[in-house]
Subunit: 346 residues, 2 copies
């Protein structure tokens, strides 16, 4: 029996996520926060491990709704935003459209679920190319459009007026993935939620110190939440993550302080990078910086020899690496190492 | 914009899981273990909340592989078995076949993913009706067959020779869901894994004291694991649950003791139920008992008035309730209350 012949053809064509663990001293590859909430894990102490978690995550839901200024019925939780992408595509089907380069999961999950993909290249400033996008919307009639803003891996926000054009032209659902919004100077789409019934906003706790928990959420009209909730696995949010997230969300000062530090360090990183010959950083509204270098494969390998792990994006964005903003010390070490590597290449 | 018109028709026809929380004193409705692992939650203390979890769950994987006597490459983890059902149907597609009555998620997830369902009634002893099942296999050619054994909610194991007949006749994947196997006197299908390349075994930690964690796993030929892994979300298992499960799995004595108590209490429950007039319990190899009563809706409501929550299955299995085995004290209280209710109905 050849198992591969039993598999859906779209799945057969997929490759599993590369989970290779690369040993390093300074980990700047995964857009994690360098700051965690060590104390918040104590919140698990009262949990009865034998009981199923609250399928509605009521405590966490109320905290979050209050923070965001929305109703509890506007929120749906996922085991990370990845799971929300799964649920959205399961609910609405395809075609699934998104600009490229962007977060790879829209395409991977779309393919896993057997849906058509409509990829539209970004313009030269990595902004939405409205003409091409509108054309795709008209011709392919996507059921779902995913816009990551700030966009991973380019780091910029898409222009609000261009996002609005897409929202107005689309007869399907437009998902604005705001995973990196906390690091941005832009407000994001939340204030516009009431004006667009086809708008879904995705957020996550993964970039702001809680990646270990797997906790993403979407904010949308209750009509959308109600439909997506039909395909949600009832106990998708384990009790431990619910408890730790609830405890951490109360520490607003810590959240704000860590975000402030990361944003300030991003500025220092950008300045430092701009001063290194042969390196061109792109502006960033996220907790990472995209940079173009002369020989990305060599620079990536040389950094790793120094114990510094970044993301080599040469496949997706020609000539580019992506570096996560680390602690001040980590960023200094990264800049120093890169300067040395750039110099040695001449 | 009418959101419902955008939704896939199979999803529009679904109802969301009923998450209504019913206050009670004694909770015997969800097939949870009455015994937890309070100490194991301490294992989260070292976790860095800001880092993504190990996508391969290596520590837990090695512990489990050793316990089960399989290779680490035979195991794939899910955020509960529910997620594994999602992944299996995403990977292989439909038709999806299963006997009824059984665990509702096979049908719900199959429908959410837009696949055809082929339901086959069990025989009068709640065993597989091989003739009808073979007929369905020949005619509908299911890509996936789900057999819950011990079966939820009937409590019995299917005859091994009948399961083997299905395995041999099927040209698709046969998933034997052994969520309740730890409570059974039967060995389960694990010893037969090497003989059947199309066999998938599902297990879970949810029934043996760790439902809060959401941790299911499947065991199969690496060829199957490799394909399903393509549709698995890379970080589907949060770091907290990984740590707590790893700590709990080391407490083999506690696991065994709690299972022994539950099995022994199941025996006492069955004897007690058989002695109550108007009540007919079915034999059970699981941590719950199915019972037929004269007026299930009334009995369910009367028990709840006493603070005892069981599952009313009158919709799925006419005349039946399902009660989870609780602590000795809880079981005694349940039997006493049921006796009183049965008497008052005459």
């Amino acid at each position: 029996m050849d198992i591969r012949k039993l598999v859906k053809k779209e799945v057969a064509g997929l490759r599993a996520y590369n989970a290779k663990e690369i040993p390093c001293r300074i980990k700047l590859d995964a857009n994690e926060s360098p700051y965690g909430f060590a104390d918040a894990v104590k919140a698990v102490s009262g949990i009865r491990t034998n009981r199923y978690p609250d399928p509605e995550a009521k405590t966490l839901r109320q905290l979050l709704a209050k923070d965001l200024g929305v109703e509890t019925g506007n929120i749906l939780f996922g085991n990370g935003s990845d799971e929300l992408i799964y649920y959205l595509i399961t609910t609405f089907g395809g075609p699934v459209s998104y600009p490229v380069p962007t977060f790879s999961m829209y395409g991977i999950i779309g393919q896993a679920l057997g849906e058509e993909k409509a990829e539209v290249p970004l313009d030269k400033e990595f902004d939405l190319d409205t003409d091409t996008f509108m054309d795709a919307v008209r011709k392919r009639k996507p059921k779902l459009i995913f816009l990551s803003s700030p966009n991973n891996p380019t780091g910029n926000c898409f222009s609000t007026d261009r996002i609005l054009k897409v929202l107005e032209a689309s007869r399907g659902i437009v998902v604005v993935d705001e995973a990196y919004q906390p690091f941005s100077s832009e407000k994001g789409m939340l204030p516009l939620l009431k004006d667009y019934r086809n708008l879904v906003i995705m957020r996550t706790l993964s970039k702001i110190g809680l990646a270990a928990l797997r906790l993403g959420f979407m904010i949308a009209d209750p009509g959308i939440i109600c439909e997506v909730n039909k395909v949600r696995l009832p106990f998708n949010l384990n009790a431990l993550s619910q408890a730790v997230a609830s405890a951490a969300l109360k520490r607003k000062k810590e959240f704000r302080a860590s975000i402030r530090t990361i944003v300030s360090e991003r500025g220092r990183l950008l300045e430092g990078l701009a001063r290194i010959e042969g390196v061109m950083p792109f502006p960033s509204e996220a907790n990472f910086v995209l940079l173009r270098v002369d020989d990305p494969d060599r620079v990536y390998a040389s950094l790793l020899r120094e114990g510094i792990l970044v993301r080599n994006l040469n496949d997706a964005v020609k000539g580019c690496l992506r570096v996560t903003v680390g602690t001040p010390k980590e960023n200094t070490a990264f800049l120093k190492a890169l300067k040395k590597i750039a110099r040695s290449s001449k």
